[in-house]
């Protein structure tokens, strides 16, 4: 038992909690003390916050040591890791659990706090009061301390021992019991995107605190407008990182999950999408304020809303309230009360502060006209808020049901699970159209004074060009649905109008082009989403017409295809053939047939029985021992078009009983214009004993062809052997091995059954199986008089797999748009940071 490391980690947690509180107090005193005491208090506060950072790093290191050293006496290591887990995924174990993800969040905020201490002279004290207070709340979530007398547990520590976390009889017999191995990381998270997606997302979460802290500090210190300038570049950075994190999540889902897309409107996704939208809205109102001194009040409201929404989504996904509504929210750790207090504290504090100061916030008396850029930006921000509201409202149904039950209402509202995507997208599409049209037009107002007459002149050419491009796209893509047509037009218009602005602006100053570039990215994303989601189609339609019940209506059609090995079927213009089960050697680019490996006593090591080629390249020599992950099986599926191989796909199935069994991940054939996405819906179970046919007997001479399961077979030779599977036989024992060649559709297979006489009387027969062909051959008898051999043949259903295939057109436009959007964010952010530094230094 390694008690020390856990106790040390726990001590660091308590230290991080206490230092964050000290930091709050000391920074508070920095503001409210006489001039002479100000600097000493500031010094104390800084020491406290630096100690806080060190403590947080200490917690991180301790937890990582526990995972890395496989200390399975700790619940965290036991339930999130295992001995065979590759090192790079140990990092993912770290944030798989609630406690670890809180820790990641705390870690980022501590780092950002340090940066702020050293860059924000004037703002340091009030901003850090807010910062440290948030840190204290977050640290309390992993505190794991029971308050005496009250019997109240505060937080859930990642350092609890297994025996304290799990009530298992073994611990009453043997308190020092340590499991030999952990239960492993959820196979879905064993993916490189899961190594970088959570840190990116939580950095985004952490960054939303910065504008909030500046806004609170501004209201508190009566610097009603000055907070915008330092907050704006951080908001841009936060929105960029948060957006990147969300899209990485989408890309991970596309590559790993098998719902057939990148976005499912799952509550967990919605919970980050909505704050991001509002954050984008707040960027726009802040920029308007910087240019024309309007929209300050909206900036305050939106900045507060972003942070409150982040807290709300934390509450939704971590309190367990989503329950049945989401398949992948965290498990309830009994933190719901604490999370609710966290949410309510900052919501109420921010709203009260804003109300108290409301009258003092300067607002412009300027009349807003339709021809002003303020008007358009304002409309855009409002639309973004509605877009978010339409998503957060249904996502909150579980909360609304709960609140309804308090007043005796039995609401039982649910987002329709079978058309969850449509439930959101039919609104979101039109919001997307309006936002694209609005922001396309707003760009012209932004850079130039425009009135009634110049408006038509400015808009004429972009609009004409958009119409032409639009006409080309819809006729080539055959888009006839009104909503999709509208989205295409709006997306094209957004791109064209911003390209015009981009050219004009970059002639003047390239650093101003961030906005235009970001908008072009959004336009590309809208078009990519429209095509890939709107026109994705299942291509693996079943056309056998075999139904389970005659009672069912005829539209009971099915999207999956049953493939027997080496039996070609047709699918969406392709010929498709299943070629068998494969394993993947670790660290080698390629796959190996399960027919060409021998197992060893270690499930993670296998031996190649022959030279292994993959795509005509030799990847392994015969008798090479290589490492595999036995959880994973890859199903090789070949697609041919006009007789030529178009693609070879290897969709994966992971079997991990500890994690609930079966996880299928797709393989994607990528083309510039479309992706073909294939995953296994149901693999053949190897655990169930297959049903063999009755044994039929064949009497054959050497080299005489005969049929097994409709394949041609030949008995090539029968030889005497002296050992079986490394087991040496006695002198008087007689063993012979027959070698039978069976010619399959693609390969030749050998069955090698053994006939054995031990102690002169005991007859043993070891049959040999050819998996791919579904045959089992037994050497039944030898007839020396006629030179014939009796072979017994059993057959079974051939190996099969059930797959689903989906075609996604133009999905690459979405990924391209994402990249462009990120470039835009970066350009804009660099400009605003420079702005801020210039002013700070002057």
């Amino acid at each position: 038992m390694h008690y020390f490391i856990g106790d040390l980690g726990h001590l660091f947690i308590i230290l991080s909690f206490v230092t964050s509180l000290i930091s709050v107090f000391a920074y508070w005193k920095t503001i409210y003390s006489t001039d002479s005491l100000r600097e000493p208090w500031r010094k104390n506060a800084r020491v406290a916050f630096y100690t806080h950072l060190v403590a947080v790093l200490g917690v991180v290191v301790c937890l990582f040591v526990i995972i890395y050293q496989h200390y399975f006496e700790y619940h965290y290591a036991y339930s999130h890791s295992s001995r065979q887990l590759p090192a790079q995924y140990m990092v993912s174990c770290f944030w798989e659990g609630q406690e670890g993800s809180f820790l990641l969040w705390i870690f980022w905020q501590a780092l950002i706090g340090i940066v702020l201490i050293h860059t924000q002279k004037k703002w340091e004290a009030p901003v850090m009061v807010v910062f440290s207070l948030v840190q204290a709340f977050l640290a309390s979530m992993i505190l794991g301390v029971v308050i005496p007398f009250l019997d109240l547990k505060l937080g859930s520590s990642p350092f609890i021992l297994l025996r304290d976390a799990i009530d298992d009889p073994i611990f009453s017999i043997q308190p020092d019991f340590i499991p030999k191995d952990g239960s492993g990381l959820n196979p879905l998270l064993q993916n490189y995107w899961m190594v970088i997606h959570p840190p990116t997302l939580f950095l985004g979460f952490a960054l939303t605190l910065v504008p909030f802290a500046f806004c609170m500090a501004g209201l508190w210190q009566k610097q009603y407008a000055e907070w915008i300038k330092p907050a704006l570049p951080w908001t841009l950075l936060g929105a960029g990182i948060l957006g990147l994190g969300i899209l990485m999540g989408g890309y991970w889902a596309y590559e790993t999950l098998n719902f057939g897309g990148y976005w499912n409107w799952d509550p967990v996704e919605n919970a980050v999408y909505v704050p991001w939208l509002i954050m984008i809205a707040s960027i726009h109102t802040m920029i308007v304020y910087k240019n024309s001194q309007t929209a300050l009040k909206s900036s305050v409201i939106l900045t507060i809303a972003v942070f409150v929404l982040i807290l709300y989504s934390t509450f939704l996904t971590r309190s367990g309230i989503l329950g049945d509504a989401s398949v992948h929210s965290f498990t309830d750790l009994g933190l719901s009360g604490q999370l609710l207090i966290y949410l309510l504290f900052f919501t109420v504090a921010a709203i009260v502060l804003a109300i108290v100061r409301w009258k003092h916030i300067p607002s412009s008396q300027k009349e807003i006209t339709v021809y002003s850029r303020e008007f358009w930006i304002f409309i855009g921000a409002t639309l973004l808020c509605f877009t978010g509201f339409q998503v957060i409202y249904p996502t909150s149904y579980p909360v609304i049901n709960e609140m309804g039950s308090w007043v005796g209402l039995d609401l039982r509202l649910a987002v329709p699970g079978d058309r969850q995507v449509q439930y959101y997208s039919r609104f979101q599409i039109w919001f997307g159209v309006l936002i694209a049209l609005g922001s396309g037009t707003a760009q012209f107002f932004w850079w130039r004074k425009i009135d009634k007459h110049s408006l038509t002149k400015e808009l004429l050419y972009p609009f004409l060009i958009s119409l032409i491009v639009f006409a080309v796209i819809i006729s080539l893509g055959r888009i006839y649905k009104p909503a999709y047509m509208a989205l295409t037009l709006a997306g094209v218009y957004l791109i064209v109008s911003n390209l015009k602005v981009l050219f004009a602006v970059s002639k003047v100053n390239k650093s101003l082009s961030g906005g235009a570039v970001a908008h072009i990215g959004v336009g590309l994303m809208l078009i990519g989403i429209m095509f890939s989601a709107g026109y994705s189609q299942v291509v693996s339609l079943n056309n056998t017409g075999m139904l389970i019940s005659k009672d069912l209506p005829t539209e009971f059609n099915r999207d999956n295809l049953l493939l027997f090995i080496h039996e070609t079927r047709t699918m969406a213009g392709y010929e498709i053939e299943y070629l068998g089960e494969r394993v993947k050697p670790n660290g080698i680019n390629g796959y190996v047939s399960k027919n060409h490996i021998d197992l060893t006593t270690d499930p993670y090591k296998v031996v190649a029985t022959q030279d292994i080629y993959f795509k005509d390249k030799k990847i392994l020599n015969a008798r090479d021992t290589f490492a595999i992950n036995p959880e994973n099986t890859f199903y090789e599926v070949e697609l041919r078009k006009d007789g030529k191989v178009a693609a070879v796909l290897f969709p994966r199935v992971q079997i991990n009983p500890a994690m609930g069994g079966f996880v299928a991940s797709p393989d994607i054939e990528r083309h510039a214009g479309r992706d073909l996405y294939t995953h296994v819906s149901l693999p053949m179970s190897r655990e169930e004993e297959p049903e063999w046919s009755e044994l039929t007997e064949e009497r054959v001479h050497l080299n005489q062809p005969f049929f097994v399961n409709d394949y041609v077979a030949v008995l090539e030779e029968v030889v005497r052997i002296h050992e079986i599977d490394g087991f040496k036989l006695d002198e008087e024992d007689v063993a012979v091995k027959a070698k039978i060649k069976v010619t399959g559709e693609r390969d030749e297979y050998y069955a090698e059954p053994v006939f054995l006489i031990r102690n002169k009387s005991q007859v043993g027969r070891i049959p040999s199986e050819i998996n791919d062909l579904g045959v089992k051959i037994t050497l039944l008898n030898i007839h020396p008089d006629s030179g014939e051999f009796s072979l017994g043949v059993n057959t079974r259903q051939k190996d099969w797999v059930i797959i689903k295939a989906i075609e996604m057109p133009l999905i690459n436009v979405l990924w391209l748009g994402t990249g462009v959007l990120m470039v835009g964010f970066t350009v804009a952010m660099v400009r605003r940071f420079k702005d801020f530094r210039k002013e700070n230094n002057s």
Binding site: V327, E367, L413, G417, D418, S549
Partner: protein, 137 residues
């Protein structure tokens, strides 16, 4: 009235509009009897029914039938009012189906059979283990 007031009214109206449109189209959790009632009244909306798989006295799940080509299957679900209903589903049976504690079926009655267009499984063991694997002692 000032412009800002008009704007506020428009915002409130739009928000109420969004609430009404979404709530009106929301699905509800019902029992099989209620679902049957709604279907026989000509209401074809898809509903959520929560239930357990039917088990015999020994705790074994009974009533699962797979189609000959394995591409679809049916099972018996017992809802909160202990009503048993055969449910048809046009996808292969998920391998962890029999391990699930609770099943949510989303669909509607067609004639006398309940056809699910989606199934949600609640597997208690999926992310949190309650028992330790001591076999590796």
């Amino acid at each position: 009235m000032k412009k800002s007031h008009i704007f506020a009214l428009v915002v409130i109206a739009a928000a109420i509009g969004i609430i009404i449109a979404n709530t009106g189209d929301a699905s509800t959790y019902v029992s099989f009897d209620q679902a049957y009632q709604m279907a026989s009244n000509g209401n074809t909306t898809k509903l959520h029914v929560v239930g357990d798989l039917k088990k015999d006295a020994n705790g074994n799940i009974v009533g699962i039938e797979k189609s000959a080509d394995k591409l679809s299957f049916s099972f018996i679900l017992v809802d909160e009012n202990q009503k048993e209903q055969k449910v048809y589903y046009n996808e292969p049976m998920p391998p962890d189906f029999t391990r699930s504690e609770k099943v949510v079926v989303i669909g509607s009655y067609q004639n006398n059979s309940f056809v699910a267009s989606k199934i949600l499984l609640k597997c208690p063991s999926k992310y949190q283990e309650e028992k330790i694997n001591t076999s590796s002692l």
